[in-house]
Amino acid sequence: MPINAVGREVPSEINGQKFKPFAGDMKTPPEGRRAGSLLRMVPESRSKVVNSIEEVIKKVGLEDGMTVSFHHHLRNGDFVVNMVMETIRKMGIKDIRVFPTALFPVHEPLVPMLSDGTIRRIEGSMNGPLGEATSYGAMRETAVLRSHSGRVRAVESGEVHIDVAFIAAPTADPYGNLNGVDGPSACGPLAYGMVDAYHADHTVAITDHLVPYPAHPISIFQHQIDYVVPVNKIGDPNGIMSGTLRITTSPSRLKIARYALEVIDKVALKDGFSFQAGAGGISLAVTKFLGDLMKKRGIRASFINGGVTKYVVDMLHEGLVDVVFDGQAFDLDAVKSLKEDANHIETPLAMYGNPYSSGGIVNMLDVGVLGATEVDIDFNVNVNTHSDGLLLHGIGGHQEVAAGSALTIVTVPLYRYRVPVIKERVTTVTTPGEVIDVVVTEHGIAINPKRDDIIEAMRGSKVPVYDIQDLQKKAERICGKPQEPKTTDDIIAAILWRDGTIIDVVYRVKK
């Protein structure tokens, strides 16, 4: 097997499909043309409403071996994936490739379908039980994980062809105009579903809020939607929305946020700058502190790319930022603002960070603050597996935000419980060290040696600056060296870089 640019041995074929080894960001140029969906003609009816999922599956002609897709705007409150997959199972359709943007613990009912023949593989993020089951070898074929933008690229390039896209729609009209800002299961934007709506051969909207034609606003337009299926409930609002997200109260996590803020201040803070926001505890704290600092200094940001939360919306309303780009909303304040504020813009995922496009939002980012489960002394980041080898998280937008941002900061505690986070070698490489600039821990920061400018800018700061090796040793001194994960040689998942090259693989874990 070839060794890729981050020193990992990777196969050249996964599930019978050829893949190149990772060669570095923007080092593998694209080939060919955009792939397309079936041309189709709808009958002269003024309604696309179909009354059940079973009926719609028959209408689209779903067969054994086909690929179905889902978006994850309803997160851990989603009912649609389970509803559709359960119907497919009952109808006796086999060997399905499931192609979600992400799955969550709520999708645990899919676990038995991995072994009963319904699902042959999942290509997408698996947060929690599905990832764990896959780690132990439950999936017949090999899982493929892509970042948000990598998934868009895979669809546009034809690497993955979607037969049927099932699109959860918090609001729909009978002719297939959809939005996510109204209805009992409102989630904000429908950004993740847009590329599927455009590229799938068949498209089915599933809604619990059918409104008279035309629905408005419109996120996904009628000419891309074949059928609309009304159901009782598409999700549980408590799982869709996070409630009021609270800034971390942990003193050590707050310390990390303060150090990250200091780095941003010294390196990137200026009028018209831009940053990526998120919903993790540290990320929220950084956003909040940054807002406070900007107010104090009279600095205004040109845009925030979200991960939109109340804290981002507050900054928009206070005039601290000109525009909010929204690919995902985390609370009801974000949903309300998306609906009402003209400078709060829903962005299709294709605009986010696809390297094989004419340029994404991430290319315009000055600052990206990201998390990680592990970081190593080469600055490689792992967000997918835990140190015991279990695949428990998706990639999200980590790769493209890291690659695009002029200043990429990874905020992590030195260790969690007893487990070192800064390691000699990450269990799995999700994002290569070449696109990571600063690692911030509660003990101090480490700067990627190739960023002389940042090293220079941080001179004279009160933030302790360490070599990353020293942070690694410190973590090991406090925690002790953990045992190596007990894995076999079977590859259970491939981690793709956003350009479709293989950056790493995940091995089956012994029970």
Binding site: P251, S252, L254, K255, E442, H443, I478
Partner: protein
């Protein structure tokens, strides 16, 4: 000069809170065996604290342990377990010089047994009796600073703590008792951990009352208090000049220090050194 602007209280039986104490930059860290530890955990706590003192990185912070008060059955066992590993023993509810002497005697035995240097004591005055004896207590050679707490005092007087006007007098007594013996005076905690502005004002007031520091309950309070204790810029500049002049005079072997034609005497030089210490200027 040793600063004790902040002393952060950490519950002694909570490993998760104890393991990161060195990160917060408090001048002193108090691993608490008293109020934050329930009776049935006293035994576990003192052993945990013993291990913490030897294994956790305290950074530049002074290591304190608050033992149980002399009127409980626990204080002796507390000392036997932890004394060899601490810098300062914080003793609650001290009421007399004899109380300190009693504790000091046991400390002598333990220090001898382990072959370690003499540890310091910071008594906490919490009763009217303790207050009347404060000036005597401050004389004890092990005592490096005087601290106080208002809970028991106000209960003794039957007045609500928040409204107790007498506490300013108590503060003054503590400062006078300590300073007249050349010891430090340490104010009590500000309990609203979310109110940064209130804390800043509180610490400023403590400073102008003559205190050298205040107690803190949350790591976030440390930086605010340090800011409140930072001298004014013009005083720092003036102090730098005085200390420079003194060093120059010393180098030139002159007995008299002069700055801008004015003679600098010893208390002025001492004050200048203290200002630089509080400004964290080396």
């Amino acid at each position: 000069m040793k600063l004790r602007r902040t002393r952060l209280y950490v519950p002694g039986n909570n490993p998760h809170l104890v393991e990161n104490v060195g990160l917060y930059g408090a001048d002193c860290l108090i691993l608490d065996l008293e109020d934050s530890v329930p009776l049935e955990q006293k035994f576990d706590a003192r052993i945990l604290v013993k291990y913490a003192l030897q294994n956790v990185d305290f950074g530049r912070s002074e290591k304190w342990v608050r033992i149980n008060s002399p009127d409980t059955p626990f204080w002796k066992a507390d000392l036997e377990e932890v004394l060899p590993y601490v810098d300062v023993v914080n003793v609650p509810k001290v009421e007399s010089y004899e109380d300190v002497e009693k504790i000091s005697g046991i400390m002598d035995e333990i220090e001898e047994k382990h072959g370690v240097e003499k540890r310091k004591i910071v008594p906490i005055i919490e009763t009217l009796k303790g207050l009347t004896n404060a000036r005597e207590i401050a004389k004890h050679p092990r005592v490096v600073a005087m601290a106080w707490g208002g809970e028991d005092l106000t209960a003794e007087l039957g007045i609500p703590k928040k409204k107790a006007l007498i506490l300013d007098h108590v503060r003054a007594e503590i400062v006078i008792a300590a300073k007249s013996q050349g010891k430090m005076a340490l104010d009590t905690v500000y309990s609203n951990i979310r109110d940064e502005e209130g804390l800043f004002e509180y610490a400023r007031r403590a400073r102008y009352m003559g205190f050298d520091g205040v107690g803190v309950l949350h790591p976030n309070q440390v930086e605010v208090v340090h800011r409140a204790f930072r001298p004014e810029e013009k005083d720092i500049e003036e102090a730098k000049k005085i200390v420079e002049a003194a060093e120059k005079a010393m180098k030139e072997g002159k007995g008299v220090i002069a700055l801008n034609g004015r003679m600098i005497d010893k208390p002025v030089l001492e004050r200048a050194r203290k200002i630089l210490a509080f400004a964290e200027v080396d």
